[in-house]
Subunit: 119 residues, 2 copies
Amino acid sequence: MTDERESGWTLDPKYDANGLLTAVITDESDGAVLMVGHMNAEALAKSMETRTAVFFSRSRQRLWQKGESSGNVLHIVDMRIDCDQDALWIIARPQGPTCHTGARSCFYRKLTDEGLEPV
Amino acid sequence: MTDERESGWTLDPKYDANGLLTAVITDESDGAVLMVGHMNAEALAKSMETRTAVFFSRSRQRLWQKGESSGNVLHIVDMRIDCDQDALWIIARPQGPTCHTGARSCFYRKLTDEGLEPV
């Protein structure tokens, strides 16, 4: 099934019941996934305007610019949207580590049959 | 704040209110994001068991193996989980195009100030 949202050239995000899109951030240098966050319409507009990643925090129920306290901002290089417009892929240039643990990426563990292991 | 879920070596997914995790699929060949889907506990178990991506369809409310009808299966190379264990990064070897539109990736459009453009 192809519709205007899928095949058209108009940005028409399909927000979920909480008004959010999923946003995947990858590093422009090597494609590593750095983090996954959520954006409401305001966060998306702020991200496009500032060219830095701004999310909506589900736990704090407020907008936050990634790096607002740590300084580890994500500079946006390119933004893409998927077929049904409910997910964003943002290619970014990270200023410092992305994860609040200090790791470069939030995805610092891999799944094995025995549990988790460091990447 | 560091806790066992963040720093430990036990797989302990933090499912959302609908019992789902976000799963990002990238292509092992070049790191392109191919799609974003959702997995419940059963989909995650099936994915690990079959080493192919199995999702939970929110629209159809059932498990589906990506490629079950098209044949375009995603062979899992590596699976990673993020700091708070509510998102998965799956590095995959795609068998054919991933998007149901026939595109290699669901992210075939980029955002510009004027709307969307082909990547």
